[in-house]
Symmetry: C2
Subunit: 350 residues, 2 copies
Amino acid sequence: MLDDKQPQLTSLDKLGEFGLIDHLTNSIEIQNDTTEKGIGDDAAVLNLGELETVVTTDMLVEGVHFNLAYVPLKHLGYKSVMVNLSDVYAMNAVPSQILVSIAVSSRFPVEALEELYEGIKIACKNYKVDLVGGDTTSSTSGLIISITAIGTAKKQEIVYRDGANENDLLVVSGDLGGAYLGLQVLERENEVFKVNPNVQPDLAQYDYLVGRQLKPEARKDIVQLLKDLEVKPTSMIDISDGLSSEILHLSKQSGYGFKIYEEKIPLDPSVIKTAEEFSINPVTCALNGGEDYELLFTISQEDYPKIKGNPNLTVIGHTTEQNAENYLMLQGSESAVPLSAQGWNSFEGE
Amino acid sequence: MLDDKQPQLTSLDKLGEFGLIDHLTNSIEIQNDTTEKGIGDDAAVLNLGELETVVTTDMLVEGVHFNLAYVPLKHLGYKSVMVNLSDVYAMNAVPSQILVSIAVSSRFPVEALEELYEGIKIACKNYKVDLVGGDTTSSTSGLIISITAIGTAKKQEIVYRDGANENDLLVVSGDLGGAYLGLQVLERENEVFKVNPNVQPDLAQYDYLVGRQLKPEARKDIVQLLKDLEVKPTSMIDISDGLSSEILHLSKQSGYGFKIYEEKIPLDPSVIKTAEEFSINPVTCALNGGEDYELLFTISQEDYPKIKGNPNLTVIGHTTEQNAENYLMLQGSESAVPLSAQGWNSFEGE
């Protein structure tokens, strides 16, 4: 059963992460009145009291999600918390507690875990979240971090992935593509270091990008900003896998197609410059890079005046019709490229 | 930092699991009113509504907590849920939701994960718990399962680890030592199989023990029984690491010493018989074996008539005085052996 050599068995790659989750969980029936929303959004929603409770969990694996050759443990601790808080904010909720489970091989000294926890504690302090539990265990290889975040919101404030309506505007916070390019810079410096350990890397010009990769911030401020502006998004998701993949989620769950405009995608000047250096299209970094942890949401057109001109928010497109495809409209042309989650290669080929 | 060869760094083994958790989390200050109880019990307690919310998480690692050579994936899925629900019951609460995160290497086919989820889903059904979220990701080696369980209880019903009083009775549900011996049987058969794969193991006489190891049940029924009997324990914990270790937790947190009596420790006849076969003291299996997932709790002496004679519950000892040591009173003698969490060797030496 465990060996993948028998031809009748299905390889995990075949389904992909989202396909696999769907496949494994689509038969689940909810049994408790307190379960408002189960699998399929940024977080589950539970009805445990006056406020609704949202809860989400994420696992980070050494060698898959991070490389300790260039990721300081303190940053890793901080980022692990951000990844989870970002999911809570994507529900338009406020995180209040986290639980942290860690599996670690004995090659790590206590001091290494102290650094990791230092980052976790700083994140908790900055975001006013309590670390209330967890588990620490041995691993046979490497470091695995699993964090669960809990938050609350009033029932009427919670924003799901499925609420977009026809001709809603699609809005993104901050700018995109930076975290992906930061990773490229770190990986390149690591290769240089392996060849010649005496070379001191000069990363000053990549500060912004490396910061986006190593120390992302969950957009607590955007959730507050939307409250202040009295804008309730019709749907929302955080950008962990790349703009393209997240739009497909919003589209699939609402049933509406999306159209986004290449020239509207917010890119930091250093993203454009560094993408050029790496001979990548910066828009590709935004679409497929991921890990930017910005918020992507739809709003009703009548809310446009409230967000217009806000430097933190950019309208990048809009929903179209029910069951329509999702398109990127190319700059300076009438051409449209279909968005796809595995779109890296197909898009590069255009 | 990561390499443990520098002599000034502290090896993880030096602190042990509980020492490590204490060390990493003792400086944490609670920032939210909704955090009733943070780290240090079977579960955290949150004040999110009319009912209190309890939340707990546990991680199981291939090669550390289970060996897929003799643990069927369906049983593993079931047990992973039990481990977490047991912590919720140990708070005298009722579990309602779980989140499941899995890291898995590509050597596992989809069918293997289907089996694992089959066990998870059966557990959810049997215990009326909803699977509401999780994360599925790649691992560089092996299978890692991290589960978070959420439950609720009325504030006045929640039972902590620290509530024991002077001369309370110490009560345990079911019987002990079976899960540990089941593991010994499975490991022995696996060795035999490696030498001669054609030998069909006859495990019939070990059914009970192997069942205790592979398919433990969280003691939902005991929580209900205590409600029916109108007994509220003064403190409670579940037995995951062995009776000895759990008593030390109750003692440390309440400040009282405990005395338990060797002849009172409930042992199934097959535990006694199989321990003899393996030349182990069956009491040692109960004290240090772990994974029995029974509930261990203290009650006030006035509640004794309510539980007296109940076949599910055994009084095995009592609390003594503040700051007293914890002792096992040996059968048929006046000798007392101090209980210790790493007590396996020291006790065997008696």
